[in-house]
Amino acid sequence: MVGLIGPNGAGKTTVFNLITGFLRPTRGKIVFNDRDLTNKKPHSVAAAGVVRTFQATNIFSNFTVLESIVAACYLKKTVGFWGAFLHTPSSRKEKRRFEERATEIMHFAGLDSMRDRRARNLAYGHKRILGMALSLAADPKLLLLDEPLSGMNAGEVDDAIVLIRKIYERGTAILLIEHNMRAAMSLCQKIVVLQMGKKIAVGSPDEVRADQRVIRAYLGTGKHVA
């Protein structure tokens, strides 16, 4: 699990946008597992196994939690357009499969009790968890989490950290943007620090914590670092 930190405006979300195709790079390449993802549309990047979440809460407001995760199973589809349109037995089987998978993911993320609630009616913290659950439904090899803990209270943060660790331990690589330093340091094995679009430090959490350039980036060149 790699953390991506840096002061506001450093370009962290921009990195996510570039990797996942929401922005076009002017130079350079993006390679994942020997596949060149540069200039690919976001849905192709997702199909290649790289899924991102969003800094601002982004969910399917009118769907219930169950419907949302079922919809997010899109990449796991086995039946094509005609099968779906004609409601063939295979398409119905696929739907049942999606619903079972969604139930598993809801359980994994702790959203069971909210199964039939409309997504827009969830508490803020649960909405962000739902965002992560949706990305899990797409079965990512690499998950890009964009400030998943932002705006959460202490209890929600603890639950979210547990979930993120569980996702990692299940075998998904994670690239995490977080402002919550405690969370980032405790979750990640490696941290990359960005400032104004440039990489200013890379290393283990301890190394980065002690790095002068990083301290200066966050706190300025004030002389007292208590």
Binding site: T20, F54, A72, Y74, V79, A138
Partner: protein, 329 residues
């Protein structure tokens, strides 16, 4: 759960049988014409709603009807093609055009997409008017042949010599169209379209080709507009560019919003109400649009979600009333 479905299914079947039997009980050329117009408007409104499920409000239906009508009419008049071939080709040509312009158009969001579809309708009207050699210009195409007879020896002889035969045709077209649209909406395809409508960035990040789905919805919706346009041409036997002015596209939008955009039956209800009311108030002559406007305003101010939301509104009001009376104890 199953009983509810059964009663719904039986009710629907009964409705369809009643509609099929209608011409035997209800006679009169005028009434037949109104029913046929309702049929046309139902297909238009329902197909427009299908496009809206992907989050796009289209005003291209007028232009697409025109494309369908002219394609079918020209194939029938100039190439001697049978209606039964020309009509589907009319629908297909509208669909192809929709896909072609859809490719650049779906990049636009919200009001910009709606504007560009409005311009498309207007553009089609102007092109049809200018291309005199092909389309007959402002005078249009006349003497469009009736659909070829549909005969089941001994049982049916539908030769389109009476209005009732056109009624059966549009009834058939409407039922098939609604069935197709219903099946699409209640499949994974519909779910994906709704996900694109609610958040296209999220859907895209989950692997959905949002542009592709938008084009799909637009193409299919416009296909039905083309089919109905072809029917229109062979029913009225004459078309001209002004038969399909952009205002018609706005009217279809009205049917959809007045009926209710959130439920499948919404546009059907809206089409019925907004077709019948002008006919009922035709006695008012030039004041008739006032009635139409009044309905629009009543709905938009008091039943914003459309007529189809009336039952649940009533339920809500009743619930609030009963809660209030409980708290008074």
């Amino acid at each position: 759960m199953n009983r509810k479905r059964l009663t719904k299914g039986l009710g629907l079947a009964a409705l369809i049988i009643a509609l099929c039997a209608l011409p035997s009980f209800v006679t009169g050329v005028y009434l037949a014409h109104v029913l046929i117009t309702i049929g046309i408007n139902i297909v238009l409104a329902a197909s427009l709603r299908f496009i809206a499920t992907s989050g796009q409000l289209s005003l291209a239906h007028a232009g697409m009807m025109s494309v369908g009508a002219y394609t079918s009419a020209l194939l029938a008049v100039k190439a001697g093609l049978s209606f039964w071939l020309a009509m589907p080709l009319g629908g297909l040509s509208a669909m192809v055009l929709a896909i072609l312009v859809g490719i650049p158009f779906v990049r636009l969001r919200g009001i910009y997409f709606t504007m560009v579809t409005l311009f498309l309708s207007e553009f089609i009207r102007l092109i049809v008017q200018e291309w005199k050699r092909l389309t007959g210009g402002a005078s249009g195409i006349l003497d469009i042949p009736r659909p070829g007879a549909f005969v089941i020896p001994g049982l049916l002889n539908i030769d389109f010599s009476i209005k009732a035969h056109y009624y059966y045709l549009i009834l058939f077209l409407a039922l098939v169209s609604l069935l197709i649209l219903y099946a699409l909406e209640h499949s994974r395809i519909g779910t994906t379209l709704f996900s694109v409508q609610q958040s296209d960035s999220l859907a895209e990040s989950l692997g959905v080709d949002t542009a592709g789905y938008r084009i799909l919805a637009f193409g299919i919706g416009c296909f039905f507009a083309g089919i109905v346009g072809a029917f229109y041409g062979h029913y009225y036997t004459g078309i001209n560019p002004d038969s399909f002015g952009y205002l018609g596209g706005i009217y279809v939008l009205m049917y959809m919003v007045v009926g209710g955009i959130r439920r499948f039956p919404g546009p059907i209800i809206g089409a019925v109400i907004l077709t019948v009311v002008p006919e009922l108030s035709s006695g008012l002559q030039e004041y008739e649009p006032f009635v139409f406007a009044a309905i629009l305003l009543i709905i938009i101010f008091f039943l914003r979600e459309g007529v189809v939301s009336l039952p649940e509104r009533i339920r809500k009001v009743r619930k609030e009333a009963s809660l209030r009376s409980e708290s008074k104890v």
